[in-house]
Symmetry: C2
Subunit: 563 residues, 2 copies
């Protein structure tokens, strides 16, 4: 049963490795992981593409253990505002008489075998013996080897003086150093990037691209803004709201809408997924190398977007989508490459026609002003379509007989079969990705989780979604690698099956064979209302750019032998 | 290159087995195939479900051989009408001094090893040494073991006196018997069925269900009416055009449209696929038994349907699809079960809304009055949707808060995962199939084809289609079981990618490894504009009713060793 949209403390437990977390964890794993290389991509961005490190940690962490069941201490007491303030002043202070450690040393301690260390301010804590008691279950391990602050900021319940008292029982030392502040050159085009939640796991820093730990995605139907994956192709532009205009070009006139113009127009909201074409790319790397950011399964999010209907603006400019003879609807952003060209995209006019009242120019994300990383002040939301076409920092809309000439429209974000590689690719021979195929992923438990000793079943949670508004009608979950299947319970998303822009969260408790010990391969696959299914294997959908991986999602966890 | 929509004589050649042909070939294989059993299905129909016989023949025929290349005699001469008339009188007459054979004996001769025999009227011919010279290539083998009439009727070029002269050179005997006329009881609800083209291969006779040899599907973009697969759930009703009405129920009035009323309204045409949910079911049987007609890959066809827009009729009845609060659009046919209930179906109102001007009440199929087997005088065409909802012999349309209560809406034509079988199925837990997923199939060469000795490549042709109007953007073809892929050439279907109701025919010439001898596993898979792909294996989509098989299509052919 799904209890609510609020974070739900889960029953599955264990010490885990998260592919993405350990790949490039901010402030921690980046320092600890010497294999996190910076390489040049086709689009000229830096990225962390470190599947070896990912695998190593995956294996190492799988041997850790922790268990919450029956040992919960849940901090339900009302707390005093004064104490809370004091807590933030007192917790984690330097304590004399304890050894000091470097951040790199702390980062070596992520599993039960190495002991699990975390930091809070100047304090170093060995929480190995606490994790089984943690009311939030597995989530505590997201901080293993690094700072607890990002998570304590995310889950306000920790801002209680009692928490730090518990933590201090596990105090083992101090850190004296602080992570070096990144020096910013005045000439750096990335010199004015917005602040980001350190929980996000970057796959590249310039431009900034990051996803949250997938485990956090299933906590709520709407993905919090600060946890929503970020996909930037260029530096985040600085936009002055007072001078900002959105130019909409009609056949006879160009109208310039100011921000104030836009917010005075009728407001429409839609809960819709935005997903990167490269979501789950990291699974493709195991087949054959691909070019692209090494996304895990969390380059996707579901938000409520609010703004103005595109059709309302087009009408004002004399554009009738139903009768226009133009072939493409083109969008341009304000994010500029070094040579001055802007990011742009287009969608075929037939697609625009089928969606016309559903395309919105969003200035709010989950009821708040849209954050800079997500397109402040305005981005276009084209429900059911790949993120790459939902242009952020939107500056201009026009109709054309040609599709956008942008690199990412014509020379990227296209699919090919697995026999096409860089020596024989012809980007003109393929079609720009628009609506995305049906996909699903297991978010909980994460790969490498060690289940409770003697587990008789495993509760599996995840998301499912399909492009084009095709609602999810079934998710199948297997705990034996795909031999037998269990139908998951779907959380209703309140949308009709043919206009289902939001995702469907799901949950299934799947029995394990009696007395099972050892690895358990969890698999999920979804079916949309058009009975489209996910392909079985990654091999069949492998492509040189690593996009469109919607193969069955597989995650291996373990039942430990009796102790 | 695709030359035209007209039948094209193909370069690939060989002696072949057709799963369906040999399963229950009319007048021939039914007699010859003792394993063609009649069994009772869930819906109470008779059917031929004979995968053992199919496999046996498949294997046997694969060892045959024939080759056309370089030996073509194409009958291009103008012919004299008088001679043609004479031909039909003179050809195939009883010839004294020759042995006589039974039809069952003829039916034993289908491969090179057994010699290939065919009949024409009273004549028996051994065409083994002719097949390599046949201008129509492999198609001649469709008649192996049986009568040539169905094919000569289909391809009028054979109605030339020169043809029978050639045939008589291969004359080896006479048949004296004729297939027994089926006795018809006056009480038989199937006593007034229409005549059918004997080329169709029945999977059940009462009700009549049949598909053409898949090889014939790729001859033309529009499937000829007489070759279009037939899927009847009940006896074909006898409809009197003079008294026929189509009743359309609005909120305040019911309008009864006569046939004359309908044909006076504006006429709209659409080229659209109709596909049975059970198309390609026979491939599922190999995994685990399923209930249903044992369809091959030809329970699909593409026709131009002409008729009246549903939205035009609804308007007259005061129904506005955009504003109605009703949830389903219900259709009822005139075909009745023994207990008097009629065939019916419904579609969700959201689907009707998205399609409203595209749903037509068709009275023409490929420019001719719609044949009785396909719904004379009127059937509803709901483009992109499974055949089962496109009610034939349409009698009534109304809106409802409930979906159709018809058995085939609620207790059939739904998908389940492969761990659901008859002991644990709950039909209420699944969703009625509407729009179908992306599918493709290899039609040419048929399974079992022996390619030319020393073949360096193989030309593969087939169809691809996706429900919901999602156009086909790519078809991949492999000649090594799916290790390497070649992108097929797509025949444009003239429709936009988001309103592509028709199929896409495709062709690829795929190289074989140098000097290859032995089996060649051909595979195809299609991608639609939403980048939905076909699943790799049948196992993953297996379901108890054997519907929705859209796995990669696999066909094995052979390159013979050097002679």
């Amino acid at each position: 049963m799904f209890s609510s949209a609020a974070p739900k403390f889960i029953r599955s437990c264990g010490v885990q490795a998260w592919k993405h977390h350990h790949r490039c964890f901010p402030n921690v794993s980046v320092l600890a992981s010497p294999k996190c290389s910076v390489h040049h991509e086709s689009s000229g961005r830096e990225s962390c593409n470190n599947s070896q490190a990912r695998k190593a940690v995956h294996v190492a962490a799988a041997v850790g253990t922790a268990c919450l069941l029956g040992a919960s201490l849940y901090w339900k007491a009302q707390y005093d505002r004064h104490e809370a303030a004091e807590f933030s002043q007192e917790g984690g202070k330097f304590r004399t008489g304890l050894p000091t450690y470097t951040l790199a040393e702390v980062a070596q301690h992520k599993t039960k075998e190495t002991r699990i260390w975390v930091t809070y301010k100047n304090g170093v804590y060995d929480i190995t013996d606490y994790v089984t008691s943690h009311p939030g279950g597995t989530k505590i391990l997201l901080a293993a080897g690094g700072p607890m602050e990002p998570y304590w900021n995310l889950y306000g319940v920790h801002k209680h003086p009692g928490i730090i008292k518990i933590a201090e029982k596990y105090r083992i030392g101090n850190i004296t150093e602080r992570p070096p502040a990144e020096s910013v050159s005045v000439n750096d085009p990335y010199g004015s990037e917005p602040a980001r939640n350190p929980v996000l796991i970057p796959s590249s820093k310039k431009p900034f691209n990051a996803e949250p730990p997938a485990l956090l995605l299933v906590d709520s139907f709407l993905t919090p803004n600060e946890l929503f994956y970020v996909r930037n192709h260029l530096p985040v532009p600085q936009v002055n709201l007072k001078t900002y205009t959105l130019d909409v070009e009609g056949p006879k006139k160009v109208l310039k809408f100011t921000y104030d113009d836009l917010i005075k127009l009728p407001k429409k909201s839609v809960a819709a997924v935005v997903q990167c074409a490269g979501n789950r790319r990291s699974d493709m790397v195991d087949i054959k190398p691909v070019k692209g950011l090494n996304w895990g399964a969390a380059a996707i999010g579901n938000a409520e977007w609010s703004g103005v209907r595109l059709s309302d603006l087009l009408k004002q400019c004399g554009v009738n989508l139903d009768t226009t003879t133009k072939k493409h609807l083109v969008f341009e952003g304000m994010d500029k490459g070094p040579e001055g060209s802007v990011y742009g995209a287009s969608i075929p006019i037939e697609l625009a026609k089928s969606l016309k009242d559903e395309i919105i120019l969003a200035y709010e994300m989950n009821g708040k002003q849209i954050p800079r990383d997500h397109g402040y002040p305005v981005r276009v939301i084209i429900p059911g379509v790949v993120g790459a076409r939902q242009v952020k920092w939107l500056n201009k809309i026009y109709l054309s007989d040609e599709e956008s000439e942008c690199h990412w429209q014509r020379r990227d974000y296209k699919g090919f079969n697995s026999s096409i590689d860089w020596h024989n690719v012809d980007f003109d021979s393929s079609v720009a990705i628009m609506q995305l195929p049906v996909v699903s992923a297991i978010c909980d438990p994460p790969a490498g989780t060690e289940l409770e000793e003697g587990s008789e079943d495993v509760t599996v949670r995840g998301y499912a979604w399909s492009g084009g508004g095709r609602g999810i009608i079934r998710v199948d979950v297997s705990a034996d690698g795909g031999k037998t299947w269990h139908t998951a319970e779907l959380q209703p998303n309140g949308q009709t099956p043919y206009r289902a822009w939001a995702w469907t969260l799901w949950e299934a408790t799947v029995p394990l064979p009696e007395g099972h010990v050892g690895p358990v391969e969890l698999v999920c696959k979804a079916v949309d209302v058009s009975y489209n299914v996910q392909p079985d294997g990654v091999e069949g959908v492998w492509n040189l750019r690593g996009v469109l991986n919607n193969a069955w999602h597989r995650v291996t966890v373990t039942v430990p032998p009796p102790s």
